[in-house]
């Protein structure tokens, strides 16, 4: 009986295993389409507030056939249809990267063509660009200038600049920064993020978010007990990766060791100021030289009262302690003024170049009034080694004074000098000085290069800011300032500092926009 039951069941299963194949195998010569985008009309990298536009470009196998009977579908995330139009237009509500997928379905055959548009990037409107600190209406004002770019059909890049004067006050009208602006410092916080430190006399010094300039933390909160040590008045800060430094008006420098080279707001500053041995007062620092800290591997400081330059080794790469600097000159030329003994000399400017391989100094010999130009190779691996230091009377001495503002272009051989309302540049190779431009009003207070030294920014104390192209063609022109002017903005207030905002580690590490 059992056997008959089993046999019956087996037979039933066998019969049901076969079914009719209802598939279609006849080939259709459909109108295959290749998808691309119309470059000149497509904008996938935008600033928050702009519109993403993607215009598909369709290339048909049979252009003479009907190419209109299609349904379109744009998806952001699986199944999330955001548009059924042929062209995609979308206004994002937040920053970040997202994917968009395009589907077009042939109404007659049902065949679907698909293209993926990845890495549509929505950036903060304030990510990369110029930061300008000024005093406006008796308060601290922060302005920002951004460079936008787009490509035409021929893949040629075009630039345009957008200025955001007094942007902090616009964004946060009820939360003023303070008064007595002094300095800016761009602080790397990892990845595609950064912060901006605003140093000012009253109202507190603040870290601002690089995305929207919102206050992130107050500097005094980064000290033990969330308060500055007695008598501390910050006048400058330096983000040194594994170590940060704060200069107080009284000449003391406070420091901290971070838990990571781009990790902020975790470690506290030590409330014992640095001691620079060799002087009974332990050093009274008047200035933190504005060098590329990452490239130089050190923060150099002017101990003006003791006629010397001192500093601390620091790094964004190496997790080692920040030790004192020992300047070692090779060769040790007796006629060359040494950083560790500047008796009778005044340091007017220090500028680095060549990704930290070179350093120049502008000194004034006080007894004679001569301006001396020093150039040297350097490395700060263990000690601060200075090699092949040369010194000469500066060829441009007749156009400069004790108040000249300088900037050594890091990626080329030019030194820019702002003397009053006149901007000069000095070619370190030819030793020639040339007038770049002059201004009808205002005095130059700051000169700075952009990310890749494709341009320089020049700030005047009357609130005007200019951006110039830096190229051989411009510099060779009879009127470089006129030829090279890219953008200008006025009404920024009494400018006190300019800083390049990198927007994050990747741009900063590679020196790019």
């Amino acid at each position: 009986m059992r056997k008959w039951i089993l046999y019956s069941l087996f037979t039933c299963f066998l019969l049901n295993a076969c079914y009719e194949d209802k598939g279609k195998y006849s080939l259709i010569d459909y109108n295959e389409v290749t998808l691309d985008v119309v470059t000149s009309l497509t904008k996938k990298n935008i600033i928050l507030g702009d519109t993403v536009r993607i215009v598909p470009k369709m290339t048909w196998k049979y252009p003479d056939r009907d190419t209109l009977s299609f349904d379109y579908r744009w998806e952001m995330g699986l199944g999330n249809v955001v548009s059924t139009e042929r062209n995609f237009e979308y206004i994002p509500t937040g920053c970040g990267q997202f994917d968009v997928n395009f589907y077009m379905t042939d109404q007659k055959t049902g065949i679907v063509a698909h293209a993926s548009h990845t890495a549509i990037e929505v950036q903060s409107p304030y990510k990369v660009g110029w930061l300008i600190l000024s005093e406006k209406d008796n308060r601290t004002s922060l302005s920002y200038i951004r460079r936008d770019s787009w490509q035409d059909e021929d893949k040629k890049t075009h630039y345009e600049w957008v200025a955001y004067p007094d942007i902090y006050a616009d964004l946060y009208p009820g939360n003023a920064l303070g008064t007595g602006p002094i300095k800016l410092e761009n602080v790397m916080t990892g990845g595609e993020e950064d912060e901006v430190m605003v140093v000012q006399r009253t109202g507190g010094c603040y870290y601002l978010s690089g995305a929207d300039f919102q206050k992130v933390a107050a500097l005094h909160e980064e000290f033990p007990g969330a308060a500055y040590p007695a008598g501390v008045e910050p006048v400058d800060v330096r983000n040194g990766g594994w170590h940060d430094f704060v200069l107080s008006a009284g000449g003391e420098v406070y420091w901290r060791r971070n838990v990571g080279s781009e990790t902020q707001h975790v470690s506290a500053f030590i409330d014992i100021p640095l001691y620079f041995e060799g002087a009974q007062d332990g050093g009274k620092i008047t200035k933190l030289f504005d060098l590329d800290t990452k490239a130089c591997g050190a923060v150099l400081m002017y101990d003006e009262g003791n006629s010397r330059i001192v500093g601390r080794i620091t790094s964004f790469n190496s997790n080692s302690d920040s030790g004192p600097l020992n300047f070692i000159y090779t060769p040790d030329e007796p006629d060359v003024v040494k950083f560790y003994d500047l008796t009778g000399y005044k340091v007017l400017y220090l500028g680095d170049y060549g990704d930290g391989s070179g350093l120049m100094a502008m000194l004034k010999e006080e007894s004679t009034g001569k301006y001396l130009y020093q150039n040297m190779e350097m490395d700060s691996w263990i000690d601060f080694n200075i090699m092949n230091c040369t010194q000469e009377v500066f060829a441009g001495s007749d156009v400069i004074s004790d108040n000249t503002v300088y900037f050594r272009i890091r990626n080329s051989s030019y030194l820019f000098m702002g003397e009053g309302n006149r901007l000069y540049f000095y070619d370190v190779n030819t030793k020639r000085v040339k007038l770049f431009t002059s201004y009808t009003t205002g005095n130059i207070v700051e000169i700075l290069q952009d990310a890749d030294a494709g341009g320089i920014g020049v700030a005047l104390d009357d609130g005007n800011f200019y951006i110039y192209k830096l190229s051989t063609e411009v510099l060779a022109d009879d009127n470089p300032g006129e030829k090279g002017l890219l953008f200008s903005v006025s009404g920024l207030g009494k400018i006190v500092d300019v800083e390049w905002k990198w927007g994050g580690s990747y741009n900063w590490a590679f020196g790019r926009y």
């Binding site: 060791r257 030590i270 014992i272 002087a279 332990g282 030790g323």
Partner: protein
Amino acid sequence: MRKIYLFLGFMIVLGACSKDDIKTYSSHNYLQFVKLVTDSSVCSFLAYPNDNELEFPVVVEVIGIPSGQEVEYKITVDEENTSATTANYRLPDKFSIKSGKVCDTCKITFIKTPEISTKALKLMLRLEPTDHFQLGQTECREAIIYVSNVIAKPNWWTDNVTSYYLGVYSDKKYRLFIQETGKADIDSDNIEELRYYSIMFKHYLQKKKDADEMVREDDGTEMTVEIEVG
């Protein structure tokens, strides 16, 4: 038949539960030192160079029910096992456990005398039974305290501290370290604390050097530290 067995088992289970009162402590009250007699304490004047007297805490605990009123207990000195004299210490007039408490901290006052700069003196305390307290665990009925002003290399001055922070130990260096930082004891695993006080001491040495008052070891060599930062 099976059903009968099931029913019987069910009835047995029901009968297994019964109500019981929670028992409370109903024995004597015992008193003992919190620390074992083998875990002696050190009262050192090193960290307090400007003090001539120090109050040293000794903690006792009750094994029993807290009393509803203040209760006295008794501590005596084991003279036979004590090298300190009454010139070196002073006991409180009275020892008592406050109402509702199960422990007390009494303060033994130690006095800095010249002999403790050359050797540590021992004070052995003993709990005595009273009407209210019997003595607790045997190993907790006595407490040993050494009073000292003798400088010696502390346990926290490890090889790591030597190599990266304070350098080679010397009694003179340690005494100066305590004088300048106010710290005789540091958690050597706490890098932040170690760095902070090492920097403080380093600055002291540097300032002395810059003022042409270089601090030297007893053998005449310059007193240095290993820490470079700060």
